[in-house]
């Protein structure tokens, strides 16, 4: 299984280059059409600065400090992908509805598309690239492969980051909307499927791999410590 994951990782990086070049070409070809079709009515006119002041910030990502010169409007997602080059974190809806951009900030899962890079100085950011342990897939990543918890894989980085944090939240005793008794601390490892589904509701999978995602998380939550 370890060999399989290593091969997958190697081939993934090779594919990435080709796919990115391809997608860039497609996006450019489509842009001319969509700009015309989506013309917006003129908005009211507050004094918006044509160009806001840049800031030099340091983002600590997966244990590495990155100094960046960014405008305030740059989202954390854009900084991670386009500036630092960590493209494991995905841009799905870009509106906080799909969870593909989920990363951990100081151990807490958030949507990186709905927050600004300048708001995360001096915090510890973990992306999917930082989940591996000593170069090997983490138990959760291994479980996702063993349980076939994805099809196209686009939502998987967000699912993984979300699930890592979710298992921690549950162990710390955090309740969810389906937790029956708020007065009782939840028992370690006793995550019912209904709890997993509710706690993972911020991550959408268009392929519908939910049963296997739940199985992989249940497996990991009950076996790791």
């Amino acid at each position: 299984m370890k060999d399989r994951s290593k091969r997958a990782a190697d081939s993934q990086s090779a594919i990435n280059v080709d796919r990115r070049t391809f997608m860039g070409t497609v996006a450019c070809a489509g842009a001319g059409i969509s700009f015309g079709a989506l013309a917006q009515p003129a908005p009211s006119t507050p004094p918006v600065p044509a160009k806001s002041r840049h800031a030099t910030i340091t983002l600590n990502v997966n244990g590495v400090a990155h100094e960046l010169d960014v405008e305030p409007r740059v989202t954390l997602l854009a900084a991670l992908r386009d500036r630092i080059g960590l493209r494991g974190t995905k841009k799905g809806c870009d509106r906080g509805q799909c969870g593909a951009c989920t990363v951990l900030v100081d151990g807490r899962r958030i949507n990186s598309c709905l927050t600004l890079a300048v708001m995360h100085e001096n915090q510890s950011i973990t992306t999917v690239e930082g989940l591996a342990v000593n170069g090997e897939p983490s138990p959760l990543q291994a479980a996702f492969m063993d349980f076939d918890a994805f099809q196209c894989g686009f939502c998987t980085p967000g699912q993984l980051c979300s699930a890592v944090a979710m298992i921690g939240e549950a162990r710390a005793g955090a309740a969810s909307a389906v937790t029956v008794d708020l007065t009782a601390a939840s028992k370690r490892g006793a995550l019912a499927d209904a709890e997993i589904r509710e706690r993972m509701s911020g991550n959408i999978c268009r392929c519908g791999a939910y049963p296997n995602i739940v199985a992989a998380i249940r497996h990991t939550a009950t076996r790791t410590g």
Binding site: L38, Q40, P41, P43, S44, P46, P47, V48, P49, A50, K51, S52, R53, A55, E71, P72, R73, T75, D94, R95, G96, G99, T102, R108, R109, I110, N111, L114, T115, L116, V118, M119, S162, A165, M166, E169, G173, A174, A175, S176, A177, T179, L182, T183, R197, E198, R199, S201, G202, N203
Partner: protein, 328 residues
């Protein structure tokens, strides 16, 4: 996203002084604000980051109440030991809202400032929206309005407030603490949000430049008998069609000493059903006329072309929430 400037004050005084710029917005979690900026609905020239103002504490008050800082995260408030123990209605409402990732970012102050999710408001492709462009008209009134208001709407606007947290805070009798260059001010939750009337562009009674500092909860009365019922189109991560928060203070004989009922998803503001709640006073689970209470809760309801279903839904939800609270 449009360009804007960014300020990160470290004192409340500096924050409110900076907010004298009328095209400034405070940013807490940013989960609603940045979404609206991306869509072109909000166009601030300056964002004032309030996350370094030391306003995230949850602390007990000398009167037995609880003070929740404006930048406390929704997830932290929901699972705070004192909130779970004394104000579980608030925990339930918070956990019913959004997703775990959003709750980890969203602040209490930001949640209070949430704007409507009316499609005609959030999508600038629609020309008519009095909330976005005063005087342009309301496309929802005769459009896709199945998610819209049945209570308190005006000719100008039929949008609903999307917050779950605010419905619970209203039922709990919370007070919002504000600060501006003019000084401090307290506003009861019932007066914080407003009905659209002729100014739907204003969601709240905040003055320009005022900052939400904290929210105070009175000493707990509904820690045992309460229920938050949210009716929505999918099991999780969806806004309410109708939501009901019920809190009951029951005496030794099983009679209702005090009741609070608030509804979400039905109006431009979280809707306090005081007259309905008063009908429960002195009643027990055996002699309370819940149909009369439910009818009073939606008294004056006016359906739009596509949301008449919300009236029986709200009444049924009120009955079920009270029954569930009484059996708790």
């Amino acid at each position: 996203m449009i360009a804007f400037d960014y300020a990160r004050p470290t004192t409340i005084d500096a924050a409110v002084a900076t907010a004298a710029n009328t095209h400034a917005r405070f940013i807490g979690g940013g989960t609603n604000l940045l979404d609206l900026i991306k869509g072109g609905v909000e166009q601030p020239a300056l964002l004032i980051d309030v996350n370094h103002l030391d306003l995230s504490a949850v602390e007990e008050l000398s009167d037995g109440g609880l003070r929740i800082g404006a930048t406390a995260r929704n997830s932290d408030v929901a699972n705070h030991a004192l909130v779970r123990e004394r104000y579980p209605l608030l925990t339930r409402a918070l956990l019913a809202g959004a997703s775990p990732q959003l709750r980890n970012m969203a602040t209490v102050g930001g949640n209070l400032m949430q704007r409507t999710r009316c499609d005609y408001f959030v999508d600038t492709g629609f020309a008519r929206c009095n909330k976005r462009h005063p005087g342009s008209g309301c496309a929802a009134r005769d459009g896709q309005n199945h998610l819209h208001a049945i209570l308190g709407a005006s000719e100008q606007c039929v949008a609903v407030n999307p917050s779950d947290m605010s419905v619970a805070l209203l039922a709990l009798g919370a007070t919002v603490n504000l600060r501006s260059v003019a000084g401090d001010r307290k506003v009861a939750m019932a007066d914080f949000h407003r009905l659209p009337e002729d100014h739907p562009e204003r969601d709240t009674n905040l003055n320009p430049g005022e900052l939400i500092v904290s929210v105070d909860l009175p000493s707990p009365r509904f820690a045992q008998k309460y229920h938050y019922l949210k009716v929505r189109e999918r099991a999780s991560f969806a806004f309410a069609l109708v939501a009901v928060a019920v809190g009951l203070d029951i005496d030794e004989g099983g009679g209702v000493r005090e009741a609070a009922i608030a509804l979400g998803g039905v109006a431009h503001k979280p809707w306090l059903a005081s007259a309905a709640a008063a009908l429960l006073t002195g009643k027990t689970a055996h002699d309370a006329d819940l149909d009369a209470v439910a009818a009073a809760a939606v008294s004056g309801a006016q359906p739009l072309s596509r949301n008449a279903y919300k009236i029986p839904m709200a009444k049924n939800a009120v009955v079920r929430a009270i029954k569930t609270a009484m059996e708790a």
